[in-house]
Symmetry: C2
DNA sequence: GCGGCGCGGATGTGATCACAAACAGGGACG
DNA sequence: CGTCCCTGTTTGTGATCACATCCGCGCCGC
């Protein structure tokens, strides 16, 4: 069927390499929570999904394993990592330590347009939360933070944080799935107020508290589903 | 020459896969500072070096690129990242934020044996510094921190820190190469004292100051060699 | 009926090949 | 003498194949 020749379709994806496409596809599915913890990934399945060969699929998987978004058994089988209370606590602690720094660095470059965009995202978060749209919640919440941190001009720190997000993403989806509309303190609102007031310490504290609240929520919910 | 067959040598390396061997070899050379910033790496050269094919070499390179220990030009050429003052500052800031946390988590599990091992490493550091052994300095300094953090039982945080180390390693070698015996405050000694006294805040502050001192040192030296 | 053994399919690993793009060198023209 | 182009070489990309290993499932013996 597929010609041994070059890419049969040179029109659309044209420039981006096959391994990059596989990487982005898988990464997006992980971040969106479409992959459940424990789900296994096969190179042939991945390759067939996007009409490429195993070689680029392997490269994409290796990359995600290096970023700890996937894990490999000693025998080489690839799967989405399973939740682990201790590891999740570590990752949230890393977020508490790193993200306030990003927020502080972003503060001087925040303009009105950014604030209004973040307000819109915060509204979207509330909407998703009340509608029980877990996937939308995760996406909007990520965008809320990303919009701010993008102004920090700190790619190395940002890369570290994104690595952490990638590792927590598969859980988030499930955590917020079984969390109806809970009583959440509005730390996003506090962060927005701090941005408008150009108050660095208030901003850092709001970000830290927002993450700590997520960690605490997660801790309380983790007790239930000990097994999975 | 090389048979199309399986690995010709099944006796020694036996178990560890080819891509893993390439990865470890390259990683060790980067951490040891053997690769200069800007050095280029070729898949065929890498493969030939260890007598494997291009496939495992590519996987190893991808992994290191994902860990930001190597970088790729848009055309796919691979090289050791070049210094960049801003990025280095970010990485040292990340260390300042993350490593005190690891030290705090390790503190309860520290025993006399650990302390004496760390004291030995600290002595080795002083020796390397006075002898101008930059490679030995970097290795001993890394070991000093690793010995402590290994007791923290925090693999996720440790992985983040190791990723940062990998990114700073190529510079460290050169920075400490052109740093004779400078006047350095003995924060390692302070950390050891805090460990013996079980003083968490003193320990965290000593670790933070040690890293901050490295960052300051680097900042002052970075002014000279603006270009490279 | 139940547990261990073995076979077949599924899966990861690595080598090899064909190809396209990028780089470096020299030669020709202005 | 400088600049541009053109070609040969180097290098990364991706497909395909052969092979070893692992997993699951059914069959046989107890």
């Amino acid at each position: 069927m597929a010609l041994p020749r070059r890419a049969p379709a040179a029109e659309s994806a044209a420039e981006i390499p096959a391994h990059e496409r596989v990487y982005r596809d898988l990464r997006a599915r992980i971040l969106a929570g479409e992959m459940a913890p424990g789900d296994s990934v096969t190179l042939r399945g991945l390759a067939e999904r996007l009409g490429v060969s195993m070689t680029p699929a392997r490269e994409a998987v290796r990359r995600l394993v290096a970023e700890r978004a996937l894990e490999m058994t000693p025998s080489g089988r690839v799967s989405v990592p399973v939740p682990d209370a201790g590891r999740l606590a570590e990752l949230f602690r890393a977020r508490e330590l790193l993200e306030p720094e990003l927020a502080l660095r972003a503060l001087p470059h925040v303009d009105k347009q950014t604030i209004s965009m973040m307000k819109a995202l915060d509204a979207a978060i509330d909407r998703c939360l009340s509608e029980g749209d877990a996937a939308g919640y995760v996406r909007a919440n990520t965008a809320f933070h990303t919009t701010l941190y993008a102004l920090a001009g700190a790619p190395a720190l940002m890369a570290l944080v994104e690595s952490v997000w990638l590792q927590t993403a598969p859980f988030m989806r499930r955590i917020y799935g079984r969390l109806g509309t809970a009583a959440l303190a509005d730390y996003h609102g506090a962060a927005l107020a701090a941005l408008a007031a150009r108050d660095g310490s208030a901003l850092a504290e709001a970000i830290r508290a927002d993450i700590a609240q997520g960690a605490a929520l997660l801790r309380s919910l983790a007790l239930d589903h000990t097994g999975l």
